[in-house]
Assembly symmetry: C2
Homo-oligomer: 409 residues x 2
């Protein structure tokens, strides 16, 4: 089947920054995004941070002509923000919610409430089975002291495991999304090494767009420039990755990014730049192994590095579990003491002046409040410890399997 | 390869009822279970409700000789309770936590805290790839008025989707666990129809054990007999299901259940009976389709039925979201009123006798408590609504695909 016609696929990926009440000029930008998508007629559109169902419905209505099939992945309080639009029928979907995703009490960051996930859509295009994944990992708020690094590494691990287990029968694997990782970060190296996914930016024949393929650039009027200070060109954290299954080849012919302001307007589409890839998919007829080309020592090295990050997170989570548990215990003790004192006063055992009632009641409520909060925190950090332990063990098992069987993918 | 030797596989499945501090004679029973497993030398052991890591470690130590490979699946506050022991190396594992699993405030039921999940272990036995799944779905506390039915149906849907997406490259699929569903319940029909999994009890050549294959029987001294009153023989809710991939056949040669008291003792292994299957796996060499044999009309029927249950759940969840939101709003109003009154008293606007300080403070704390609780509930039911909506949509999409393509698996 060497002579099979080549399939040309245009893929669009963008973190839309469409948070209701918070994102600037949201509806205007969603309209602009819809217009651009309609104009250019992409085959696959992978969006993140579409947190308002109304925005999704508006896009769906607008894209009805060029991308009539779509799916909105629901999860968490606010939603995953992930959606897919496709020119071709979506046959099946599956959502995997990451087990760790920041902390509910970090309200100013809010990642926890989004239920960060990876969405899978199975799409059949001209008889070729595409497993299309869209995801958004936990944000990095401070690169120097990144408290969320262990969670992001766990997410990267879960993402790669989910892809490896679900993509076994796929002819082509496509992943698009805001991974919140620089190209050399441990999480993305882990993801690429272990899945064999290729980075469209490094593989493309022609590139056009922001320097170094950056997707968060100082030129964009919505980005917070102070955060980008150490990176004068910006950073690349949005990706299109791909892999061909046995008997297929995929090449990235062209990759583009938007470059700040949208054509003909004074605003960009989002605080991120869009990534647009033109892929060429061809059937080779050779049942070549799907084995990633990465050598075992490299796999071991990156996995060991990731495991170290998970262990660091585990230590921190254990400390937090311990201190919240201790706080809950102290509050409980205070409550018991107060109950004993109240009982004593009631049966007339207490001599002299009893406590002023108001302060006594206030103290009791304070203790109760602390008890409830600390217990909640303790439960939360217990889950965190369990999930970090679980990932650490899975990584240990993977290392064991690798070291026993040097040829294993 | 018609003449390939047959693989004989002995599988053991048990819900161990090993809840620390709550389950009767737990450690003694775990010892008995370990002894039995050592004696009989099973190839695969799938356990549920092993909620103490110490029990898992004890079993691991005891089974080191016959089942040296094992995995404990961690999730939730208490853990998933799921573990696998295997005579053959476990190559890979993945855990999928169900998106809905009861309510955190139903403390007397406690399912929410367990993080109910499905665990997957990939095991290579004599060159045959086994995808082994172990799971435990939400319990049914009242069959007549089962408030958890929509959650269990969502879990069954997620289980079948997880199996379908991850088992595409498996030669043999095995699922063991406490599904908390009677053989004719909608969830298990949905699971079996959509995955093509076969029920070892109905397929076996030889059966030995409790009548009708029941796994929760009145004869077991740990079962609560009042719950089994409508079912004098007991109920069958623990299963071993299997499916052969392309080019393989699997037959169940023998199925057994334990029958109450463990041999030589006065107690059973658990409040559930164990299910033990002897499977014969053979390579046929014919790349037969893996398509489940279920006809499209049957798939449509069971999916529509399941969708109705999900919709009923969605209505209930919406009602609860609404009432918790209203409660939070009322508490907020009360707090604002109190703040206004306090401010008024402070600037001397209020005439006459102000409120007694103690009652005023108590009321404020009560309102604050209600506000926090109701907000938490509202967030929780918002997630519930989203996940039910998501499942309902996935089911709608599946129905659409089915109806468009009558031949699709």
């Amino acid at each position: 089947m060497e002579g099979d016609p080549m399939l040309r696929l245009r893929v669009f990926d963008l973190n839309c920054w469409a948070i209701r009440y918070l994102s600037k000029r949201r509806q205007e930008r969603i309209r602009l995004i819809g217009d651009r998508l309609c104009q250019e007629g992409f085959d696959l559109v992978l969006l993140q941070e579409v947190w308002s169902e109304q925005d999704y419905s508006d896009l769906k209505a607008k894209l009805g002509g060029c991308c009539p099939y779509s799916h909105y992945f629901r999860s968490g309080v606010i939603g995953s923000g992930l959606c897919i639009f496709s020119k071709f029928p979506i046959l099946d979907t599956l959502l995997y919610q990451y087990s760790l995703n920041g902390y509910p009490y970090m309200l100013q960051h809010g990642d926890w409430f989004c239920g960060k996930s990876v969405g899978l859509a199975v799409i059949n295009i001209s008889g070729i089975v595409f497993n299309v994944y869209v995801t958004h990992l936990h944000a990095e708020y401070c690169r120097e002291k990144d408290a969320y690094l262990p969670h992001r590494v766990v997410q990267a691990w879960e993402l790669l495991q989910f892809i490896r287990h679900t993509a076994k029968a796929a002819d082509v694997v496509l992943l698009g999304g805001d991974l919140n990782m620089h190209p050399q970060d441990v999480g993305i190296r882990l993801l690429r090494c272990w899945t064999g996914l290729r980075d469209a930016f490094t593989e493309t024949k022609h590139f056009e767009g922001c320097e170094d393929g950056c997707t968060l650039i100082p030129n964009n009027c919505f980005t917070v420039n102070s955060e980008l200070q150490p990176f004068p060109l910006g950073i690349r954290i949005d990706y299109i990755l791909y892999k061909a299954g046995s008997g297929f080849t995929v090449r990235c012919e062209e990759l583009q990014t938007t470059t700040g302001t949208a054509p003909g307007t004074d605003i960009p589409y989002s605080d991120h730049e869009a990534v647009m890839a033109t892929l060429h998919v061809q059937r080779t007829g050779q049942a070549a192994g799907v084995t990633p080309s990465t050598a075992v020592p490299a796999l071991v090295e990156v996995l060991s590095e990731a495991r170290t990050e998970v262990r660091v997170g585990l230590q921190a989570a254990r400390r937090q579990r311990y201190s919240s548990g201790r706080m809950a215990l102290l509050a409980l003790l205070l409550l018991l003491l107060q109950a004993a004192a109240a009982l004593g006063a009631l049966v007339g055992l207490a001599g002299g002046q009893p406590f002023p009632k108001l302060s006594f009641a206030l103290l009791a409520f304070l203790a109760l409040g602390v008890l409830l909060l600390a217990t909640g925190l303790h439960l939360f950090h217990t889950i965190e410890v369990k999930m970090l332990q679980g990932t650490e063990e899975q990584m240990r098992m993977a290392l064991g399997v690798l070291q026993e069987r040097p040829g294993r993918s």
